[in-house]
Amino acid sequence: MASKHITGVRVALENQAAGFANVDSSTGIPSVSGLTFKALELDSGDIVPPGDPATVERTDARSDWYELPPEPDTIWSSGARVRRRTGSFTLRCPLRTIGSASAYATYADMPLHMLLQSSLSSWTPAAASDTVSSAVSATRFTPTTLGRWEPGQGIAYDLNGRREWSFVTDDPANVFHSPAFSASAATSATLRTAQTLFYRAGTDPGYSVCVELSGHNWQSYAYGCRVSQIKVAYPPSGAMVEMTVQAAFITDASASGVVAANPTRADGARAHFRGSYAVVTGTIGSTSPAELARTRVGLDEWTLTVDFTLTPVGHSDDIVGMANLEVSRVTASLDLLLSSPSTTYDSDLWAQTQRSVLIGLGPVGAGNGAAFYIPAAVEVADPLKRDLGGDTVRQRLSLRSGLWGLDDGAGADAGAPWDSPFRIALAL
């Protein structure tokens, strides 16, 4: 007898061994050889054996009404067909950040980050924090160490007991950032940098991952995985990240099915929207580097969705049948439900107004909190069409990531996230 209530998921970067799908060169079949797995903190409800068998229905002419066994789409090894499934599965994880960096020294070690970077690029700042040498304005400060700031990366600032977020737009001598903090970053204040996940045409995402899904007496391995959708919602218990993971090759090792270990939780707090800010700017304009003023908005609900189109790069060298799953298109969407309608946004669809929109999450403290940022959000619905779904009249903003070119990337370090149309900042 085996209980279905004990389950676990572990994740490994495939660049540790043979690369995409970790194909064994001697067999042409993926293996876990050389992979180091890290146990992911997640909800158990969605952990089930994933994928559908790769078979082709046979349409042969036949002499009576009978079925023919479907034709397995696979290769032979040691005289038998190799078991092969393909498909996607969903994982729901609490959004927890690195905290004091004891359980995980870097975000690169964290399984949640491994999944996120499989379809996004990830920028690691030179250090976790810096102090303000001198205050300048709500959109500029003089840093102590200029080299810790690169255009595009996130900044977290604890002000009045709340975590505020912004993103660097330039770093000539002072650091320019947008949107504004609610006040100047004070002299000697500590500013936290952020691991910044982003996408930009021409910048490759990170490494593919192998995912082990296990329970009592069952175990599946999904190789060549990248996330095809990231969805973040905010239940009162804290932010949850729901990821749909596309796998190139899925197989089982159920004979050895055990849940190997409890998840290693990062040291940071669960990210919370309570005690932080949602910020919308005015029209983004054309001034570079951007230093946009902020307007705080009260939200009843928000949902972030990032959709990735994953295109197989085909080949016939091995059973996987592809050399990579390439991210060929990305769309970031942010739906906001404003508690109180504002006429400021009523004409955004018709006037084609683009604004920066930032959802900040706390709490305060080293390695806590996160932010989701669309610097040039495009409205795709009519904000004047009020939402009557609750007891009060509310306003819904349906936003997509538009073209942003107001970071000054001249002289930026290679790989810095400047001018990216969508970013996720995870506090350091």
Binding site: G8, L40, G45, I47, P94, A269, G362, N368
Partner: protein, 152 residues
């Protein structure tokens, strides 16, 4: 973290909420070292004393693991108000409403407790309720919170 630790932390947080100043000058804990009587049996004294009680024991909150699961429980902050016969009922109701908001804002703000290891969430658990005691001489206000935490 244990549920007892969460309860103790809430005992520490509630006095930091700003009371209305009309019915209660401050919130102070009732007999944390071992009560001589239950809060609702109290019949006199100043308004604003409170206790923290577990109203629903922990249940599995659905995290994947071999052991050391995430749990969900319900606790309540109960605040006692003395209502003298001369006291204006409208003022008392206003004070209770203001105090409830202040306690919820203090206790549910993750910036105040996120450093607590293994505590994921401490969120409002529904509408506060009132209970009239001692033939109208006192009112007990119960403010529920849902706790999500990792035992261990």
């Amino acid at each position: 973290m244990s549920l007892v630790s969460v309860v103790n932390m809430v005992y520490d947080q509630v006095p930091l909420a700003t009371a209305s100043g009309e019915a209660a000058l401050s919130f102070y804990p009732w007999d944390t070292a071992g009560p001589s009587m239950a809060l609702e049996q109290r019949a006199d004294g100043d308004s604003g004393c409170f206790d923290v009680v577990v109203t629903a024991l922990p249940v599995d909150d659905g995290a994947a693991a071999v052991s050391a699961f995430r749990y969900r429980a319900t606790i309540a902050v109960r605040v006692w108000y003395a209502r003298g016969t001369e006291y204006d009922r409208r003022l008392l109701q206003g004070a209770i409403a203001t105090d409830c908001a202040a306690i919820v804002a203090r206790v549910a703000n993750p910036n105040n407790w996120a450093a607590a290891e293994d505590l994921d969430a401490l969120m409002p658990g529904g509408a506060p309720t009132t209970q009239v005691l001692h033939d109208g001489a006192a009112v007990l206000v119960t403010i529920p919170f849902t706790v999500i935490y990792y035992e261990g």
